[in-house]
């Protein structure tokens, strides 16, 4: 297990109460890359992400950030280095887009430092990057699903963390909006060098946007590496129990999963 990366899980066991989700799993998140976690429903993807973001305390093992056990770092300090967008964040009723994005500055603010120049710039930058500046004065309820997701990402960006974890940011979005969000993710990574971890369901989009793929099944990592090495006929069968062919996406040159045609009769 290489410890050169900033965010690592060392043999973590994760459970909700007595329900064991992940057993003795280790993973290292490559710095400066887009990592995508894939796997069937209920395989522990989100649970692992929550543990990496210190939202779930491992029953055994530990998650380390910059070499220190993450639970031992004051949560506000973690929040300056690592951001997370949960699957279903709750937008306060009637909140303006600009106010919601501003809330990303929470870990940088205090009673005496309520709105510094740096806060203002971070919020503006985040809104420019996500093209939400035009929505600034709108209420969150008035927005479409895709716009809303961009606003949430803007909030996570305004937090200005070098590591950013996104839990299924494309759920409930149609394909063009999924592409829009993932293009944004890639832009943030390529232009600003942020380390990003995304949980995704769509395998072909995962192949397109990931530098590194982690494939999970039943709380364990089956395979990880570049898309070409992870997305294979064999691994798909082992991870999803899916019979398929893997061809090359002629636009991006990345692997593309084509499910086998079943006989229905």
């Amino acid at each position: 297990m290489s410890d050169e990366n900033r965010l690592n899980a060392h043999s973590v066991t994760l459970a909700y109460g007595k329900r064991l989700i992940v057993n003795d799993l280790s993973v290292s998140i490559p710095d400066g890359k887009v990592t995508v976690i894939i796997g069937p429903n209920a395989c522990g993807k989100s649970t692992l992400l929550r543990a990496l973001a210190r939202l779930l305390k491992p029953q055994a093992g530990e998650v380390t950030l910059d070499g220190v056990e993450i639970g031992k770092i004051p949560t506000r300090k973690v929040a300056k280095r690592l951001g997370l967008l949960p699957q279903t964040p709750i937008a306060p009723q009637g909140i303006l887009v600009s106010d919601l994005v501003s809330r990303g500055r929470t870990p940088h603010q205090s009673a005496f430092q309520q709105w510094s120049e740096a806060d203002e710039e971070a919020v503006l930058d985040a809104m420019q990057a996500t093209q939400t500046l035009d929505l600034a004065g709108r209420r969150i309820e008035e927005l479409s699903g895709g716009q809303r997701q961009r606003v949430w990402i803007a909030m996570a960006l305004a937090q200005q963390t070098e590591l950013l974890l996104l839990d299924e940011p494309t759920t409930f979005l149609d394909l063009p909006h999924q592409i829009e969000v993932l293009n944004l993710v890639r832009k943030l990574n390529r232009q600003q060098g942020r380390t990003i971890v995304v949980v995704l369901h769509d395998l072909n989009l995962a192949c397109r946007y990931a530098d590194h793929i982690v494939a999970m099944r039943e709380g364990a990592i089956v395979e990880q590496g570049v898309p070409e090495s992870v997305i294979t006929v064999d691994v798909m069968l082992r991870v999803f129990g899916l019979k398929c062919d893997v061809i090359t996406d002629h636009l991006s040159g990345t692997p593309m999963v084509v499910p086998a045609v079943e006989d229905y009769i």
Binding site: G17, R50, A53, R54, L55, T75, R76, K77, V78, A79, K80, G83, L84, L85, P86, T88, P89, I90, A91, P92, Q93, G94, I95, L96, S98, D99, L100, V101, S102, R103, G104, T106, P107, Q109, A111, F112, Q113, Q114, W115, S116, E117, D119, E120, E121, V123, L124, M127, Q128, L133, A136, G137, Q159
Partner: protein, 351 residues
């Protein structure tokens, strides 16, 4: 960075130096000022109106120490303690209500709805009926009853976190159960104690003395700054535990502290004026609408609570031939508001 873009991101008033910056939303400032003015007007009106009306000139003369003897007596012995107690009690009810509504992300989760007032009532009635207590001991019973009920409600509705709907339902259930105890005691006692208990149960500011003023203001004055200091964290909690934690909020500490502050505030308010209903229910939502705040507006809720309570007391004192307790009027204002809240919650599918 263009100024236009900056203006879009924030319409707030901002003061900045190197290590220090303050951000105030204009709407919050104006709404608070308007509320303050309204409180001041009703307060002056309360002092001047009554069986013995006084002009504003008379009041000011007394306040600067140059008033006539009868005026001084009525102001300093009767009306001022009553008014000041009402302000603190109303503010405490209002702020506590806003705290619980925010913690549960549900406007129905105000302490009078989720059983705290009933618990306080049972404590007080036990003291009055079983021990023939009056005054201070009744207040002690009320505080103990409210605290115990709060602990019970939180324990029963806690399951790996505070579930808002469970809290409201458990709270309403326990509230009714506890109130059955009150009814039982009332049927079991003689008419004298029953009348005393009933009077206390409605909630009133009648016959408040300076000790009531000191106790309620001391309590509110200590708790309110703590609550205001935690307001930002409280508002982040409304976005869900995961989001709040991701933003660096120590969620369990904030939640426990806020619940404790809220329960203590309710206890002080109940001890000061009895279990006056509906003030804590209406204050938070009204303050939110006035300030257009996207989170709990604790300062605004305190102002609204104070305004509602002293207005209800004034109406009870001068609106009718007989003096009526403030609790009657808060119920008259509050009940339709509760129905409206229920209706909108049902329409949203939240209940």
């Amino acid at each position: 960075m263009s100024d236009l873009a900056k203006a879009r991101v924030s319409s707030a008033y901002i003061w900045r130096s190197k290590q220090f910056s303050v951000r105030l939303d204009p709407r919050t400032i104006w709404a608070s000022l308007a509320l303050l003015v309204a409180v001041l007007i009703v307060a002056i009106w309360s002092i001047s109106a009554g069986d013995f009306p006084m002009s504003i000139a008379d009041i000011f003369a007394s306040l600067v120490g140059e008033g006539q003897k009868p005026h001084d007596f009525i102001i300093f012995k009767l009306r001022l303690p009553r008014l000041l107690t009402g302000l603190a009690v109303g503010a405490a009810f209002g702020m506590a209500g806003a705290i619980f509504q925010s913690l549960a992300r549900n406007p129905l989760a105000s302490p009078d709805i989720i059983g705290f007032n009933s618990g306080a009532a049972l404590g007080a009635v036990i003291m009055i009926i079983s021990f023939g207590a009056t005054g201070f001991l009744v207040a002690v019973g009320a505080v103990a009853g409210g605290l115990l009920t709060a602990v019970l409600v939180f324990t029963l509705s806690w399951k790996g976190g505070l579930n808002p709907y469970r809290l409201v339902l458990v709270g309403i259930g326990i509230g009714f159960t506890v109130y059955a105890g009150v009814s039982f005691l009332m049927t079991r006692t003689d008419i004298f104690f029953a009348a005393a208990a009933q009077h206390w149960l409605t909630g009133t500011l009648n016959a408040r003395i300076w000790r009531d003023v000191y106790v309620t203001w001391l309590g509110f004055g200590l708790l309110a700054p703590l609550a205001l200091g935690l307001q930002m964290s409280l508002n982040r909690l409304e976005m869900g535990d995961d989001m709040a934690l991701a933003l660096g909020i120590r969620i369990n500490i904030v939640r426990s502290l806020m619940a404790l502050i809220g329960v203590l505030m309710v206890s002080i308010a109940v001890a000061g004026a009895g279990p006056i209903g509906f003030v804590s229910l209406v204050a938070g939502p009204i303050a939110r609408r006035l300030t257009l705040s996207s989170g709990a507006c604790l300062g605004g809720a305190a102002l609204v609570g104070a305004l509602v309570l002293i207005s209800a007391d004034l109406m009870g004192r001068v609106g009718f031939a007989a003096q009526l307790p403030a609790g009657v009027f808060t119920a008259v204002i509050g009940a339709p508001f509760l129905l409206w809240l229920l209706a909108t919650q049902i329409r949203k599918g939240a209940m």
